[in-house]
């Protein structure tokens, strides 16, 4: 049930710009370049970590992958099927196999629904179970994610942030999806709870064999979770590498500066790179390489020509003229 090459999700040349309207009467003129030509593949049963600073478009990319946000252009292949223009009943059937876990455990659960209904609604929608069986299935699933069975009768506000995130996970896996977009699933949790949730996500992945597109700004979390790491900056991918090599030998100057900024205890001394300036506005991204305004390696060429994402080392992609 995957594409020919074992990928669940394959994004090709995705663009998404959001119009910004300045006032009631003006026509849209400004556009936020949330995603500017991104191609990315997620292999079946594996985790691709998508990392970047806030506002770089990583959350939007996750939502485009599930078509919760419609891309302006580009192609979305899911299990080998082009779902970019899929509509109505067909799209709804496809949704069964793609789910999402949100960052904010508070706004992601409908406050007026019982937890059992939140978790079980997907089964009803897709006619997998009737309303009577749902109860039992939901209880079993809630136990699986580490909650008690009587949670099904409660409302979301009766739970803590970490517990609510478990409910969100139960909802996401209820339909046994092939792909789960995890959008900063632990960013709003305490560090001790983060570890529990991450381990739960890993265990469940082993059990269900689904792929994760794991969005985070936290490199340590990405390292813990991912087989492949993709780095995004201002709507473009800077580097895509297997995790091991990514953390051992980062290629792109942006990646190198990011890794240099992660505080770590012990280990070999690392290079010191200080990023200059602020991240430019995605409304008017710089010409040429997006990163040249802050890059320690930038030269004249970078201001004019945007480097394509290309194979820079065996099995590794980077978008830089000089690596």
């Amino acid at each position: 049930m995957t594409g020919g090459d074992g990928t669940v999700l394959s994004l090709t040349d995705i663009f998404k710009h959001f119009p910004v309207r300045r006032s009631f009467f003006s026509r849209e003129t400004l556009r936020v370049h949330a995603i500017d030509g991104v191609s990315l593949a997620v292999p079946a049963g594996k985790t691709v970590g998508l990392v970047g600073e806030s506002g770089c478009g990583k959350t939007t990319l996750g939502r485009v992958a599930l078509r919760l946000v419609e891309p302006d252009s580009g192609k979305i292949l899911f299990l080998g099927q082009d779902i970019t223009a899929l509509a109505g009943e067909e799209m709804r059937r496809t949704r069964k196999m793609m789910q999402i876990i949100f960052q904010d455990p508070y706004s992601s659960l409908n406050p007026r629904m019982r937890v059992g209904d939140i978790v079980g609604e997907g089964w009803l929608v897709h006619g997998i179970a009737g309303s009577r069986e749902i109860r039992e299935l939901a209880e079993r699933l809630l136990l699986r994610v580490g909650l008690s069975a009587d949670a099904a009768d409660k409302y979301p506000h009766e739970f803590s942030g970490g517990q609510r995130q478990r409910i969100g996970i139960a909802r996401a896996i209820s339909l046994s999806p092939k792909l789960v977009v995890a959008d900063e699933p632990v960013s709003s949790l305490d560090v001790s709870v983060q570890a529990q949730i991450l381990n739960l996500l890993k265990d469940i992945q082993e059990e269900y064999g689904m792929a994760y597109l794991f969005v985070s700004h936290d490199l340590r979390v990405i390292r813990h979770m991912s087989e492949t790491v993709a780095v995004m900056y201002l709507g473009k991918l800077m580097e895509v590498s297997p995790a091991e090599e990514f953390f051992g030998n980062p290629l792109h100057p942006y990646t190198r500066s990011l890794l240099a900024a992660v505080p770590m205890l012990g280990g070999a001394p690392r290079e010191k790179i200080v990023l200059r300036g602020e991240i430019p506005s995605p409304v008017s991204p710089p010409p040429g390489c997006r990163f040249h305004t802050r890059c320690f390696m930038a030269r004249k060429l970078c201001e004019e020509v945007c480097p394509p994402l290309r194979e820079a080392a065996p099995g590794r992609m980077a978008a830089c003229h000089f690596v």
Partner: protein, 324 residues
């Protein structure tokens, strides 16, 4: 929950006493008195006649005694006789008029609900569409237009120019000679403009309010989650979004009771509808203290009950309050 309701119910009489005290003082601070029409403006009235009137109405007593007497009587729901020449009991006068006002208000509330909420939902779901823009402009125009002025314009258009609708009263002269269906139709025609105008302001406000609630709810993640589960747009909007967006509307509904009663004074006077609003207007003009006090107390009571019902309704609808 039951304890909460009881606690609220206990407070209501206290609030009523406070409200009535303020109203009482306000009436006595206002220029003119209940006998000014009969005595001051009548050149033939003698000083002795005036004296007799003042004593008859108990106006020679100090204010706190007057208020105390009124309060004691009110506690047995006796508002006393009206100062008007007919001297009838205030409670009788109110009793025969309150159904008219309540009918119009309930109908206009229904109208607000049936029209404003779908408009609000639709313009939020299709934000920035043509429908949204047109309804926004219309609603703000509606806010800006004074109801009494619009009422007069509509009377001229439908009543005078087109002659489609009657412009005053509740029934036609020949009402009693009509068949049952005819009577119903007659009443409906008379009620159409007043109900429309009574609801007009609320319509504008409510649709706007519903729109902003809906926009707030729609951007929540659980709406995206519902979509991700594979629910159709209709189900997402109706089942997940609307139910949450409707919650705050319940409160607004409770708060709108005084607006509706206040509005009744204006449109009942304009349309010559024999309701409580018109009675209040006449009472104020004649400085009929017992009548004005009676209506104010009943209005305050309805408002407090409205608020209580709204809060209870909110608690019943929102699980966070129910168990918390």
């Amino acid at each position: 929950m039951l304890r909460y309701v009881i606690r609220r119910l206990v407070v209501i009489p206290v609030m009523l006493v406070g409200i009535s005290l303020l109203s009482f003082l306000a009436i006595h601070l206002a220029p003119g008195g209940p006998i000014s029409v009969a005595a001051d403006l009548n050149p033939k009235a003698t000083a002795e006649y005036r004296e007799r009137m003042v004593r008859y109405y108990g106006l020679d007593q100090p204010l706190h005694v007057q208020y105390g007497r009124w309060l004691v009587r009110m506690s047995t729901l006796d508002f006393g006789p009206s100062f008007a020449p007919d001297g009838r009991q205030v409670s009788d006068k109110i009793k025969e008029r309150i159904p008219v006002t309540l009918t119009i208000n309930v109908l206009s509330m229904g109208l607000i609900f049936l029209v404003a909420i779908p408009i609000g939902i639709y313009s939020a779901v299709r934000k920035d569409s043509w429908f949204d823009r047109i309804s926004t402009v219309t609603v703000f125009t509606g806010f800006a237009v004074p109801t009494f002025w619009l009422a007069l314009l509509l009377m001229i258009l439908f009543g005078v120019k087109l002659g489609w609708l009657p412009i005053s009263g509740l029934v036609s002269l020949e009402h009693d000679s009509l068949s049952l269906a005819g009577r119903f139709w007659d009443r409906a025609r008379h009620l159409l403009l007043p109900v429309l105008l009574a609801g007009f302001g609320g319509l504008a406000g409510m649709s706007r309010y519903m729109r902003s609630n809906m926009l707030e709810v729609i951007r929540q993640d659980y709406i995206a989650a519902a979509k991700a589960k594979g629910l159709g747009e209709r189900q997402v909007v109706l089942r997940h979004a609307t139910r949450n967006a409707l919650l705050p509307v319940i409160t607004i509904l409770g708060l709108s009771v005084p607006d509706l009663l206040g509005g009744a004074v204006i449109f009942e006077t304009i349309f010559a509808i024999p309701g409580m609003g018109q009675l209040f207007y006449q009472g104020v003009m004649a400085r009929d203290v017992p009548l004005v006090m009676g209506i104010l107390v009943i209005g305050a009571f309805l408002t407090l009950i409205g608020n209580l019902l709204a809060d209870v309704g909110y608690a019943l609808a929102d699980p966070r309050i129910r168990t918390g």
